[in-house]
């Protein structure tokens, strides 16, 4: 059985990382925004968000910030994820699921290649 004291070990390990993040912050952060209003949640946004958190941790992507937002406005295309690069370019991915997240993390976040087939521009084709 896990106990809360185990968190101290995580804390000790994390302290170095946090300092590291502080140095490279600001200019290099990629933001991942998941829509988590009623529409998003009902369509499956929770596993999408959790998959992003898991992938970002497993790959040690220190420059990625995963956050949530409310209703983005196109509920029929939920779950929706927006990825915003440090230069402000925004890509909107629609009808996401956990499998698609893996591909987006690998292609977009790691290799900086937009996965065109999942973007909103391709949604109704």
């Amino acid at each position: 059985m896990k106990s809360l004291e185990e968190l101290r070990a995580i804390k000790a390990k994390m302290q170095n990382n946090v300092q590291l993040r502080g140095v490279e912050d600001a200019d290099s952060v990629i933001r991942v925004v998941v829509g988590m209003a009623t529409c998003g949640i009902a369509a499956g946004a929770r596993p999408v968000l959790n998959k992003f958190i898991e992938e970002v941790q497993n790959r040690g992507l220190k420059n990625v910030l995963v956050t949530q937002t409310g209703c983005i406005g196109v509920c029929r295309l939920e779950p929706i994820v927006e990825i915003i690069t440090p230069t402000g370019e925004k890509t909107t991915y629609v009808k996401m699921n956990a499998d698609k997240v893996s591909k987006v993390v690998h292609e977009h976040l790691v290799n900086n290649r937009v996965v065109e087939e999942y973007t909103i521009g391709n949604a109704d084709k």
Binding site: L4, E6, L7, M36, I41, A42, R46, N50
Partner: protein, 183 residues
């Protein structure tokens, strides 16, 4: 919603938007009493009587993107459809309390689903809010207070992915030991 845990996530997000400092999530499942109940209590901005009377109407919402809000009506409908009850009470400046219960053996009752995932999603999005999550079954009770987690972590934020992963495992382990979240 496919799982009650998704309703919890949705309703608790209202508390987040109401600028709550403390959000309490109580889940109780009892095969003996044939009931599943969910209580979400916050100390957020609350609502006046006028708004409170209207929130179960799907055409009422605080969102600005559209004129429909479905979170509360969905939960209410699910409770009523499964021989359960729904109640919402609120006071401006004090907070809001949402209660829903369901008949456990009713055929239309959605599964409880992945409550751990709901709780960590909430913590992840709002690490500064104090979450009190209680889960009760016929076998026992489990409680997580994010204040206690914070005391262990010091200045490490609660929403570091590593902490979130640990919390997910911690909640699931404890739920398993009281056989919670399986129905």
């Amino acid at each position: 919603m496919k799982e009650l845990s998704l309703n919890i996530l949705d309703i608790a997000n209202n508390s987040v938007k109401a600028k709550a400092g403390v959000i309490e999530i109580d889940v109780s499942e009892s095969e003996n009493a044939d009931i599943v109940s969910i209580d979400i209590t916050d100390d957020g901005c609350g609502m006046d009587e006028h708004m409170l009377a209207k929130v179960t109407d799907p055409f009422v919402t605080t969102r600005t993107t559209r004129k429909v809000g479905l979170g509360i009506p969905l939960l209410r409908q699910q409770a009523i459809d499964t021989d359960g009850h729904f109640k919402i009470s609120s006071q401006p400046g004090k907070g809001t309390k949402v209660h829903a219960d369901f008949r456990l053996t009713h055929l239309d009752r959605p599964p409880i689903g992945d409550v751990a995932s709901t709780v960590v999603s909430l913590i992840f999005a709002s690490p500064d809010i104090r979450f009190l999550y209680k889960h009760k079954t016929d076998k026992g009770e489990f409680m997580l207070d994010t204040q206690e987690v914070k005391e262990q972590l010091g200045d490490i934020p609660l929403n570091e992915p590593e902490v979130i992963t640990w919390l997910t495992e911690y909640i699931n382990e404890n739920l398993q030991s009281i056989e919670g979240g399986k129905i």
